[in-house]
Every structure is written in structure tokens, then in C-alpha cells.
Symmetry: C2
Subunit: 302 residues, 2 copies
């Protein structure tokens, strides 16, 4: 007897899923749904791209309308929101009662607009951001950020888990896009600091692989500092009991000088130092590092 | 019978240790040595600071000479290398046969100079950098970076483990200081990226604590990218198979615009974007992120 609920140890229930857009990412998504046992319908503007997926078990839809009406969950992953609208606009009437999962990259404002449009056509809407590249799809080590309809998230979390670890950011559909941008900024900043460190130690013949073993251990500690400082930001108070901005500023000078002495780019070290110097000049010298958020919020002014 | 070797489950062998300099950090070091069962002698220029430690079991030395001659391992933790030399210079003759562990912050060049000086006086020399603040001392979650005499490191690794997890960077005494500077740069860059993300999501009423839960998960992925990219740096080839600089550059524009739209500081986003734009203009558009190290090495020029 099929109770409709997966039993422990059993593969989760088959969901009907459609993937619109079969670029590198869309193809990876379709493969991950197939691997998880879901009935997967695929469509792409140029039909040739569906061939390989059909050979792997996907159902090819001959039209967008056929693709949309085939499934409970419709995933769209194209280049821009305008592209997504060009695909879905003509079949808006077919979306009622389905869940539209938009994994196309766009702005927070575009996500809110799409959610309102989907609601007007009777569809549940989730906006998502996949925090990995196509080769990482299917691994729970990466996050699938989701925002929008709470009922859609609750109903399809297990299905989406085939792609990456679903993270519920809440009902505002803009949040997946905003977090995506924020996390990419964190990534670029971290990678740039790491490249600078690799260049600095590399100037004394330390291989990047050797430096990186130590750097990745250190990243765990840095993550711990974030966890310590986050409540300070929410409270608006930044006690400097572990290290004050005065102390950071003095040490930042070492980084600038060590970089200059080795002919390295000093853009990043000087930016870090100058922001801190402005905060110190404005009276934050006895505060901790998190006090710098006040300058970020004020457009860089202390 | 004491065989001289610690048995399994037993505290490791008592080493005689001296701590010179009892500021916040020096006092934390002395406490951690005491907690690990080592005979700990302490000295400070102003004697009053030793009082609390003596009450906890430390031996107070009346002079630097008495302090140095009391122990196999002499740890110096004062404000500058000049201070360290002012303390140790007059008792250089007493260092022969001992291990000098310099945990004073300084430049790579100063570390090499101190190592040569110590060797000239018959002492083994280790330069160290403690990658935590005084409250973190005693936890193996943090690193004690060591460079210098390999025999001294091998002999005293277990003793130093009372302070933090000892990491052997090799025989060049400059490396602890250089890694310290490089890792602090990585920390400031990462924390600045995190503060920016907290400000960005905070503009839509996301608490920093909520953003940080997701950000710290993401930091694990970012550490994975470093591990993936490090061999590319050592090989001097930067395949863009996961994401090219062209793709990064387009997304960096979103970060700049999202920040501008919310009145946030655009210093960091623009710096990240402009470096990438220079690399793309120089023909690195199809390369991966690690290609940017060539600009760092070339003083920012592509």
C-alpha cells in the first residue's frame, strides 16, 4: 500500500518536475532531479540541448506549455529575468496551482516583481540562488537559498534537496537574490585577502598550497569571530574586549609595509587600513572590529 | 618510578618555562603553562603584575637573569622587538643551551635578526605568532605559528601545545611573522566582506545574527575554493572551468549597484570590481579567480 509518505530509508516520493532552460546549470539541475528519482520534463529554446538528458531519462517537452503543464514544480533557469519572462509570459494561464521556482539570477526588486506576477496568475513562487557552480549541483555541502512562499518551501523542500541543501530565508522573495549578492561579496573579499596572503608568503618561497593549509584552518577561527560579532551588530554596541580598532590599525600598517616592501598591490591593504583609520579618527578606537559596520551603512563616512 | 616519559592518559612531562613580559597576553601564557603542570617562572619590568600569577603557583624571579637561568624554555612576550632586546641584551650570556621563544610581534626581518643574535649566543630560537587574543589562550582551536630551529620545535612542541595548537612553518624564522601578517590580512578582508553583507541584508531588516548563520556556512565553501585554487597558483595556470573572471565581473556590478541603491560604502565592492576589470582588460577574462594573483604580485598592474 502506498501511503503517500516515504518510509524511512526509502527514496523520497517522486515529484513531477520541469526544468526550463538547459544551459550548463539547467542541465545539471535536470540531472540531479533525475538522479533523485523525480519524473523530469525538460525544455530549451534550442531543442538540441535536451538530447543528452532525454537519453538519461528526461521527458522532452515540445513546447513551453507542454513543459509547464507536465509538472507540479516548474524550475526556470535562464540567463536573465527578462529571458524568464519571455519564456513564461505567453503561458501564464498554465501556472495556476503549480509552484514556480525561479533560479535565474537577478536583483531583489526583480524577484519581488516576479512573485507578484506569479501570484496574480495563481502560482506559488519561490526565488532561489544556488551557491555553487554546475559541477557542485547534487551535493548537500552547498546551499540552495530560497525565499518566497512558505507553503511552497514546505511542500517542496525535499524535492529541492536533490540540487543542494535548501535554506529557507523567509517569505520576502527578494532575500535569495540579496543574500546571493552579499555572499558573493564575502567570497570575493575573502578570496582577495587569501590571494594577497599567498602572494606575501609566496615572496618568501612558500607554496600557495602550503599557505592555504594554514589559511583554511584560520578561516574557521574567522568564522567564529563573525559569530561572536554578529550579536554586537544587532545590539548596536561593539565592545573591544578582544581587540580594539586602535590595535587593528597599528597591525594594518605592518600589512601595508610588508606588501610595499615586496612590490605587491597595496590596494586592498590600504583600503582596509583607511576605513579603520577613519573610524578611529571618529572616536571608535576603543571599539571592536564590528563597529566598522556603521561606516559601511553611512556610505563610508565615519 | 619516573621513566621520564609521560604514560598514556597522564599529564605530559613537566618542563621548566619562563615567561618574560606579563601584559594581558604574557599573563595568559603563564596561566596556560601553569594549568598544564609546567614549573613556570615569571618576570615583568614592573613587578606588581606578577602578584596574581604567584598566587596561582608561578615562581617570581627577582631579575631577568634569575628568570632566564630558571628554565629550559624562555618565552618573551613584550610590546616590540626593541623591548625584547632591551630585556634580553644584558643577559645574552645566560641564554646558551636554552630555547628562546619569541612571541613578540614584529617584522620578518626583525625575526631573522633575532634568530642570528640568539644563535651567536648559543641559544635555540623559535619565533612564534599566536593567532588568538588572550581569552583564547589554552584552546587547541587556535594556532600557535612557529618558525625557526627545527630541533627546538621538536623538543618543545608538546610544551607549547599548552598555549594553542603548534604549527611548524619551517626553519626560516621570518615565516611566523609573515604568515601572521598574511592571515590578519585575510581576516580583515573576510570580516570586511562579512560586514558589507550584513549591511546589505540588514537594509532589508535581516538581523546580522541570521545573515551570519548563512555566511559562516558559506565560509566553508569559500575555504574549499581556496583549496581548489591553491594548486593553480603553484602551477601558474588558472583554468576558468567553474567560473571565469568575465562571469565574476558581471556579478560584481550587481554588488556595486545593490550597495549604491542602499547608500552603503562602495569602497570594497568597487575595489574588487576594478581589480577584476583590469585583469579582464589584460586578457584574463576566460581565466578563473586565482589569476588575479598575477596582479597582486605586479603591484596591481595587469
Amino acid at each position: 500500500m502506498n501511503t503517500g509518505k516515504p518510509r524511512k530509508g526509502e527514496k523520497s516520493m517522486n515529484t513531477t518536475v520541469t526544468v526550463l532552460g538547459l544551459g550548463q546549470m539547467g542541465s545539471a539541475l535536470a540531472r540531479a532531479f533525475l538522479a533523485a528519482g523525480h519524473t523530469t520534463t525538460v525544455w530549451n529554446r534550442s531543442a538540441a540541448k535536451a538530447g543528452a538528458l532525454v537519453a538519461e531519462g528526461a521527458v522532452r517537452a515540445e513546447s513551453v506549455r507542454e513543459a509547464v503543464t507536465a509538472s507540479e514544480v516548474v524550475v526556470v533557469c535562464v540567463t536573465t529575468y527578462d529571458d524568464a519572462h519571455a519564456v513564461l509570459g505567453p503561458v501564464a494561464d498554465a501556472l495556476a496551482g503549480r509552484t514556480l521556482v525561479n533560479l535565474t539570477s537577478g536583483s531583489p526588486e526583480q524577484a519581488r516583481e516576479r512573485a507578484a506576477w506569479a501570484a496574480a496568475h495563481g502560482a506559488d513562487y519561490l526565488d532561489g540562488a544556488i551557491m555553487t557552480t554546475p559541477p557542485g549541483i547534487g551535493s548537500s555541502a552547498f546551499m540552495l537559498l530560497c525565499s518566497g512562499s512558505p507553503t511552497a518551501f514546505a511542500a517542496h523542500r525535499d524535492t529541492l534537496a536533490a540540487l543542494a541543501a535548501p535554506v529557507d530565508l523567509g517569505a520576502d522573495p527578494a532575500l535569495a537574490s540579496l543574500y546571493d549578492t552579499a555572499l558573493l561579496g564575502l567570497m570575493w573579499a575573502s578570496l582577495s585577502g587569501w590571494l594577497h596572503g599567498a602572494a606575501l608568503t609566496g615572496s618568501e618561497e612558500v607554496p600557495a598550497t602550503r599557505f592555504t593549509e594554514v589559511a583554511t584552518r584560520w578561516m574557521n577561527a574567522v568564522g567564529g569571530f563573525m559569530t561572536t560579532y554578529a550579536p554586537q551588530i544587532d545590539a548596536g554596541r561593539y565592545p573591544g574586549d578582544d581587540a580594539t580598532l586602535d590595535i587593528h590599525l597599528a597591525t594594518m600598517d605592518h600589512l601595508v609595509h610588508a606588501s610595499e616592501a615586496r612590490g605587491l598591490d597595496t590596494g586592498l591593504p590600504k583600503l582596509l587600513r583607511d576605513v579603520t583609520a577613519r573610524a578611529v579618527a571618529a572616536g571608535h578606537g576603543r571599539d571592536g572590529y564590528a563597529a566598522l559596520i556603521e561606516l559601511v551603512r553611512a556610505g563610508g563616512r565615519a
